[in-house]
Symmetry: C2
Subunit: 308 residues, 2 copies
């Protein structure tokens, strides 16, 4: 039995999963990151945890086929180094792959976490019997991230910076973004963006997207309007993806997608209303299904692919 | 020697080229399409021309490794059928591949002409020694078309409708497009779009982009403004491509790109001005180099790939 380990390295938690084929989780666990204590202790505990997992499965760690780590970028994928991450202060230039592969004797590869999540969503659907070869995942959280799968392969880009869907410009000269652009999708369709629209239109200062969502469910026009703006901007991004890549599926994940139909219905309506009339080639638009496991699923699946 | 034939089927001309490796043309010729006389006579003349080409090269037609045809879409690629084309009236449902492969005894494959041109530009650059694996070609003509190459492969999309770059929305609620959308790139950056901006701003009714270009070169502010709008919209589309796919190169081709620096300089300036400040991952932006040969080069190169 060939086993792969997927790791999703976050600012709060480290998620670890064991898979015997892409997209199927045998076992999972969560460790605290204790980010402020620096990378050494975290990587030591992670290695020890993986050793323990292997022991329980009756394996030596050098019998693990592949270990994949998803981490917030930017990363140097070839070197397996985390360059920097806003929610992992003090972790600059952490040599994740070299350290773990020496500690465990198994091949370790590093991926951008949003790209890993997109490939995890894809692998999860394939494992469940879905027949797709191309999809785009939008991860709608505090910001908007994502990833692109074409012909069953993750699109990484020439500087490993593909899939930065949140910074597609959907409104020329629109809202200023901290990235330096104006009119980024993220400014409208993230939790931050929805909250900004809500307050801009006179809604009370509420902190959580789920509160605005509850209001929208109860018919509050300002809350509904905030989701409507997010949905229209998402629809424009989806239409642009459709024309450029013609993927089969758009999956909406992340905390904001927990709004379910409050978000999904207007996104579908706008996409159908605003797209062209020439060919009916709009992709399916669905909620993501792999949830919080997507990152580790994808990291493991990509690590296995890298071994082939 | 394995030879491939590339065909670019247009409303006016049929271009035919012979290649012994992707991106390198040994010989080329042009036949009139005589579109109004229907597909039978055109395909008969094309088959006869290919027979004659093979004869001169001392080959039987069934020794040709692959024949690739690029045609204006929509096409049914699997069946090798041209479904319809605005500038080939009466050619609906022409069985291009079945007819040519029976007539010639060689494998024939069909591609969308804009996608073929993108792959031709890519193959041409690779043959010339350039080391790239991803690029996007914008074909700026009466409309705006294009094609996407990722990891050395053409992105065709799930309904073969990828690369419709002209219909990316760059201005929400912008100019109406005959396709049914509003704010398509094509409405600003095609010859038609540049002409519309020029007249909208009070420029005299001139028909040709090259006349507006000459005026812009002489410093006419209205003409310069029309190219400026096209350039800004192209820059937004390029930034969106950058974030989504992070390609190495954007190539600008088609009749409008003959404007050279009148177009290229403001596109580069806007792209640099409007893109994010987080990572310097803007692709190179250049004029296309394969010119009118791109379609047949790409059709042949893709046909060879299909045989592998």
């Amino acid at each position: 039995m060939k086993l792969a380990i997927g790791v999703d390295l976050g600012g709060t938690d480290i998620k670890v999963g064991v898979m015997d084929r892409p997209g199927v989780l045998l076992k999972k666990a969560t460790l605290p990151t204790r980010a402020a204590d620096g990378p050494d202790q975290a990587l030591d505990r992670l290695a020890e945890h993986i050793r323990e997992l292997a022991r329980r499965l009756g394996l030596r760690t050098d019998e693990i086929a592949a270990i994949g780590v998803g981490a917030p970028g930017p990363i140097d994928r070839d070197a397996g180094v985390l360059i920097a991450a806003p929610n992992l202060p003090g972790w600059e230039n952490t040599k994740i792959c070299p350290r773990l592969s020496v500690a465990l004797g198994a091949p370790v590869s590093l991926e951008n976490d949003a790209n890993a999540a997109a490939f995890g969503e894809f692998a999860h659907r394939i494992a469940a019997g879905e027949r797709i070869s191309s999809m785009v995942l939008f991860t709608l959280g505090t910001g908007v991230g994502g990833g692109v799968v074409i012909d069953r392969r993750l699109v990484r880009g020439s500087y490993d910076s593909a899939g930065e869907i949140g910074h597609m410009i959907v409104e020329a000269d629109g809202r200023k973004c901290p990235c330096g652009q104006s009119g980024c999708l993220e400014r409208y369709a993230s939790a931050t963006g929805i909250s900004a629209t809500f307050q801009e239109r006179g809604g009370a200062a509420v902190q959580m997207t789920r509160d605005i969502c509850s209001k929208a469910e109860r018919g509050d026009p300002i809350a509904m309007g905030a989701f409507d703006v997010a949905a229209k901007m998402l629809a424009i991004a989806i239409i642009n993806l459709q024309h450029l890549l013609n993927p089969e599926l758009i999956a909406l994940g992340g905390g904001v997608a927990a709004a379910g139909n409050v978000l999904l219905e207007p996104v579908r309506r706008y996409a159908r209303e605003l797209t062209w009339r020439l060919v009916d080639d709009l992709p399916r638009i669905e909620l993501a299904v792999a949830g919080n496991d997507a990152g580790m699923l994808g990291a493991a699946a990509l690590a296995l692919t890298n071994q082939q």
